[in-house]
């Protein structure tokens, strides 16, 4: 599992799964300078190495790899791995160079690891799709496994950056999950226009004074492009990004294809259906 450390419940769930499924589990902890487009964000990224090592030991990790930046990128290094079709939109557009930095460091870590399975959280959904595409395109012998996002009781996705939020900002940050729930309900209710679903998500985020929307979208889960209709892709994914206080947060969820959704037959039935779906989403 490639990580940047600051291990939280999301990482713990990945690690526990890897330990359960394999004889040996390895975790890398490396705050990768290539994937930060913002020097301040890099500087203040939490680095509780002692706690992280204790977490790894407690969970039964065999190997922890904690390289220096000089070891990973010695002077003269100049190779970049880029997934062209995925690096220009959403997180790629918001954070220039970020996804190339991710693809480059993960390609190197995959080379070092050799044949293995690698576990990534769905929270960074574009990263998961990109890493899977990169490993396949370069024939790296790594099985990329996506794992459900771990959330707190209010739906806030675990993120190392959550520790930088004040209590009030933390409450406000739950708006991302509430917004995704509204978007999902719109799809379930029969909305097939991706831009209309995106608008539903965006409106909920805008209702939170402490949140500043970056983007909201309903996309094809395979390539993160906006489809012509929500029914077009085999799997639909809802994405949202917003700044809350000092940090930028992202989240996402699956949405059923409109053909799979139960169409509302009346106000009462529709309400019931929506609640049912929202509850199952909350369990992800």
């Amino acid at each position: 599992m490639p990580t940047m450390g600051a291990l939280h419940a999301g990482h713990r769930s990945l690690i526990a799964r890897a330990v359960a499924e394999h004889a040996h589990a390895a975790v890398s902890i490396f705050v990768n300078p290539l994937q930060f487009d913002d020097g301040d964000d890099f500087a203040r990224y939490p680095r509780p190495l002692g706690e992280d090592l204790a977490t790894c030991e407690e969970l039964g990790v065999s190997t922890v790899f904690v390289p220096s930046a000089e070891a990973m990128f010695p002077p003269g290094s100049s190779t970049t791995v880029s997934v062209r079709s995925l690096c220009a939109q959403w997180e790629g557009a918001a954070r220039p160079g970020h996804l190339d930095g991710v693809a480059t460091v993960v390609a190197k870590l995959f080379s070092l690891a050799g044949e293995c399975a690698a576990y990534f959280g769905e929270k960074d959904f574009q990263q998961l799709v990109l890493v899977r595409r990169m490993a396949q395109d370069l024939s790296l012998p790594v099985d990329v496994v996506g794992c459900p996002t771990v959330r707190d009781a209010e739906g806030l996705a675990c993120s190392s950056r959550n520790s930088l939020l004040s209590p009030g900002e933390r409450d406000a940050a739950t708006v991302l999950w509430r917004a995704l729930g509204a978007g999902r309900r719109a799809v379930v209710s029969g909305e097939t226009r991706p831009e209309a679903v995106a608008a539903v998500i965006a409106d909920v985020v805008r209702s939170e004074p402490l949140a500043q929307l970056d983007y909201a979208a309903a996309v094809d889960a395979a390539d993160l492009r906006v489809p012509r209709t929500c029914a077009e892709p085999a799997a639909l994914r809802l994405l949202v990004a917003a700044r809350v206080g000092p940090v930028r947060l992202i989240d996402n969820c699956a949405a059923p294809r409109p053909t799979e959704a139960v169409p509302p037959r009346g106000a009462a039935a529709a309400t019931g259906s929506v609640e049912g779906v929202a509850a199952s989403v909350g369990g992800e």
Copy 2:
């Protein structure tokens, strides 16, 4: 050994060396569309597959890998590997996208091969430096071995594109090697200005009516940058590229650092020294 087929004496020397040094030798034959910036060049690139397979068998190759373009780059592929510091100059400038195409396909072939040694001719010197850099930067477990260029009696470097030359063009093409010899003699004679050495090479190429110069340069062999003086880099390399008839040809040679060269002590001594160096160069 990654190859594009049309195996010539240069490839044969790589293959023979790999077979001698390893229990198993594998050759890939793949005319990589990513590394052609010119569709005509791609279309007419020679593809004598039957002869190539016979050559591999004769030389004791264990495995020949002949993938289709669809197998290497299925629909949706979109990962590019780029060595930024090397892809903008010389061949990178002359052939946009060419070196990214080389880096991408070789990264994939290296991933497929796993731990091994890979043999590359020095004829494509920038490619050799780039592949070595890429493998190191991405920690691919491949030892990149550079092998001396194989030449005919007149010094023309073996190239699959030589088969596209008329007899007269083939004679003209020897100007590249003669030009490099002149450049090398200039360094041996004490010329320390890279641009002056480049001018010596360029002048010889321009003296051949059938040749059209693309570039000539004296560079640091490690990163292909033009040094301030020929004495600066640990190893100096002379590069030349020219169009002869329907094809574009490249060549290169090592040059001693001026400090290593015997300075001329008079006309007779200088001539002797120059001839001696030229003869040893011809044996590469």
